[in-house]
Amino acid sequence: MREVYIIGGGVTKFARARPEADFRLLVKEAFDRAVEELPGPGRDKIDGTVCSYFSDYFTRQLMAEAMVQDYLGLCPKPSRRIEGGGASGGLCLHAAWEAVASGRMEVCAALGFETMSRVNTAKGNELIALASDTNFDFPVGGFYTGYYAMMAQRHMHEFGTRAEQMAMVAVKNHGNARFNPYAQAPAMLTIEDVRSSPMVSTPLTVLDCSLMSDGAAVVILASEDAAHGLCSRPVRITGVGSAGDTMRLADRPHGKVVPLPHENKDDYEGLKYPGVHSFRGGRIAAKTAYEMAGITDPPGELDFVEIYDSYTSSEIQGCEDLGLCRYGDGGRFVESGAPFMPDIDYGLKFRGEGGWKSVPVNPSGGLLACGHAIGATGLMQAVFAFWQLQGSIGKHLGDSTLQVRNARRGLVHTHGGTGTSVTVTIIEAVS
């Protein structure tokens, strides 16, 4: 396999509604930003595209990927669609990685979009819930917030996690987004704001949930030769992993923890895993990516993480799956301040205990605050990671507050279903 680099990235602002632009124009906006730093007509360097959008119902246009390709003026180059629920963007990034790693393409653009404003919020939730078993799950009251809420409730029962710890994730991510002009919902919040906002699905309030968005994101990947010819500061993808789990939460096994190299199996004596409190797919995707990148101590070797925080609870669960802290410690990990940006004032007091190393989680603001245009989301996360590792956050966001100091290695994590399809990508700066 060949080495694969990221040489360009672009995102649109995610917004509740962008009626002035259809999916083609949204992708074009992100694409133009991604190629503007490439020399010459950047578009000409691209050998083909992969495109992710989640729902045919939101788009109501089949073969939309071909129409995007067409609108960008990339015909007759090859294009195809990648879909895996919320993991679509992450899977799309991996598909582009495969195209370049295999030698099939020198330069491949990963495109992603979703236009969710075309239906009302309740209908949107229904279309999303069609990504659950339509015989056994959807008809019972299909609602993703409900599914994740049941997982959060079991996490609280199993490990003593508290709603206030989950609320701190919302304070962090909305707080970070204040410095990200692409974010949909920047806000200075308090734990009380989160807990007193309207209840959606116990224990998750409106502010524990990510947002529906219109938006697009584009990442351009290239081989080593192409990368060095086209980009002054490429970054390298050093690990990819993806894994799945049963579609129905009810079917998840209650077996044994899959430990990471820095973990002790005996720490998890008696813990039934993954049950519905943890995401086995996230753990195995991480393990695969860590092995490929040669990472044996994730919290010590990662400088930041862009995690798929569709809910505050799933960020806590995701931190555990990725091994930033042990299973069961996710709530206390947040309380310690470890996943917060060290130089931002969130109006919170941290406990500072637990001995966890500082690993900023969702410096961009994550899905909670940047928004969640499903097919674009994983690519949006990758664009922010690309800029972090280039050291170009200040340039692209117009403010360097969110630049993680000495960012050498980052991780991007995406979730489809209830952890039914998970991707992990490790990206590193090139010295």
Binding site: P19, E20, Y57, R60, N120, A122, K123, N125, E126, A129, N135, F136, D137, P139, V140, G141, G142, F143, T145, G146, A149, M150, M151, Q153, R154, H157, P198, M199, V200, S201, T202, P203, L204, T246, R248, L249, A250, D251, R252, P253, H254, K272, V276
Partner: protein, 167 residues
């Protein structure tokens, strides 16, 4: 050939939400002819007041939500009757939801665990307020009198039975 040919006019009109850009109402609906196929015996069971799960003759894995093929060993599973009492493994009360269920909110979802089953079953719980909900509480299946051949033909209610061992 007719030079004065015209397409017929309609008086349907269009729902218009805005003109800059032009935003119109547009409907999309499909009636499916949906077969439950290999899952059919479960839905037939509900109409007879039975809760059917699957058991693997190959490895002995027991599924509280049926599946025709064992996820552990790939064998074809057999049907068996689940007990009608179980415990709440986890729960949530939904105050909002998908459009299809908005009128039913708030409603409580539970995953039920059954003695001797390796997996869980998703259902609705009736008869307990959100603050009364507890993981581990005993629940009992009830069946709708007028069946609809949907998984909601069965639901659960709180139940004070003999104490069973918790999962």
């Amino acid at each position: 050939m007719k030079k004065d040919a015209r397409l017929s006019e309609t008086e349907e009109g269009t729902v218009l939400y805005g003109v800059d850009p032009i935003i119109i109402g547009d409907r999309f609906g499909i009636d499916y002819i949906h077969s439950y196929a290999q899952d059919s015996p479960f839905f037939a069971g509900l109409s007879k007041g039975k809760l059917l799960g699957s058991r693997c003759p190959g490895c002995g894995y027991v599924y509280a939500t049926p599946r025709g093929s064992c996820m552990e060993c790939g064998s074809k599973t057999e049907w068996f009757e689940l007990p009608l009492e179980g415990r709440v493994h986890t729960f949530t009360t939904c105050y909002l939801g998908s459009e299809a269920f908005l009128g039913e909110a708030p409603f409580t979802l539970i995953l039920v665990e059954f003695e001797g089953a390796n997996t869980l079953f998703l259902s609705r719980l009736a008869g307990a307020d959100p603050e009364e909900m507890k993981i581990g509480m005993q629940v009992k299946a009830r069946f709708r009198r007028k069946c609809t051949f949907r998984p909601t033909d069965v639901y659960f209610v709180p139940y004070e039975g003999d104490d069973q061992r918790r999962r």
